[in-house]
Amino acid sequence: MIEPHGGKLINKLLSKAEKKKILGELNNFERIAVKSETIKVIKNISHGVFSPLEGFMNENDYNYVLDTMYLENNIAWPFPITLDISSEEIKNIKTDDQIILENNNHEPIALMNVETIYSYDKKKYAKRTYETLDHNHPGVYNVLNYKEKLIGGEIYLLNELKSNFPNFDLKPIETRVLFKEKGWDKIVAFQTRNPPHLGHEYVQKAGLTYVDGIFINPVIGKKKVGDFLDEVIIEAYKALIQEYYPRNRVVLSTFETEMRYAGPKEAIFHAIARKNFGCDYIIIGRDHAGIGNYYGPYDAHDIFDKFPDLGIEPLKFRSFSKCSKCNAIVNDKICPHPNEKQNYFAGREIRATLKAGIAPDKEVMRPEVAEVILRYENPFVV
């Protein structure tokens, strides 16, 4: 099986005794409240989804990543994973302290060794990560609204984050054991933030044809207004898999992380996470993790050429459509027919149809999938 990124699956879980000791001494630690999306980062680091990261990036890694897309130890990593902190919060914290990161209900989430506290240039952070400074880009907006300083250092998980989808919440150690149990040698990952239409099914099955199993791994977490609700995506996939996939060839599991919409760089990030889950390949489609017109349609394909050492391989798929002449789902590499013969799987149109309470044509979306989505009064993020 493919080895984790950096060679070792990171595990930042404490023993019961260590955890008990720290939880019994909480008053001795400075405590900082972190956002729900940061708690997801903590969970991912702790369970090795973000291997080789062992905590929030220190200043050196932060700078190396922004400048080179590599960590200081020369392992590929596309954008910073950081913890921002206000001047007020930092008053009682200094380097080498141990602090507690807690949620908004003051429940402790993680212990952090504060290794560096550093100033940073928000514009450089945003521009290098998102390749734009346009405030309308949700990732840029977030970074420009970060607090004044960043703190870096190792973390240790104190309390497990409860998933909204506990039956689909697999950690890398679990997927790796699962793939081994299933006898899968080569696995392809599919990243998604949408319920499946027939185009998705086509690329997934095309990828699956060449390997032993497919790992369908929807992103669960903060998304933009108008995106599908997490539960809609999960329920839609359950319906599709039930009716149209061989059960021994597919695993559906969630990836709890926010969508950053960083386009090509996020494609690398998605690939690294799936490598840690044990996947050899990842399907990269048109405008992967893109938003608006900030990235070229195939930038997320091209960026992989800069990372020959990534380990996981991209399966690059171009835009696909239903060709009325071929009477098949095709892409522009395999079909000679003109545009007027093509019915593209346009997400915007599919969403508009569903919003009107109508099931899309069965040549666009499986009726079972449409039925699940239409059960929801509003299947979209508002």
Binding site: L170, E174, E181
Partner: protein
């Protein structure tokens, strides 16, 4: 245990003559009596270090693996 059971079977592996000559040079003063015994030693060392590396990369113990399998069974991912 009888003497018969201790008998080690051997097979022939071909290596380029030029490499065998280099090994002969390298063997001088090492105590190895033949190219075969020296190559056997080197290969054992190489295999052992690869296996050690693989073991150190194993992220979980057998016990952990069993615990994981139980959770996967509970969730219906495996039978």
């Amino acid at each position: 245990m009888s003497e018969e059971e201790h008998k080690v079977e051997y097979t022939t592996v071909s290596i380029p003559k030029i490499l065998a000559d280099k090994i002969k040079e390298r063997m001088k003063g090492t105590g190895f009596s033949s190219v075969s015994s020296y190559v056997t030693y080197v290969l054992r060392q190489v295999l052992s270090s690869i296996e050690e590396e693989e073991r150190s990369k194993q992220a979980f113990t057998k016990e952990e693996e069993e615990k994981v399998k139980q959770r996967l069974r509970d969730l219906g991912y495996i039978d």
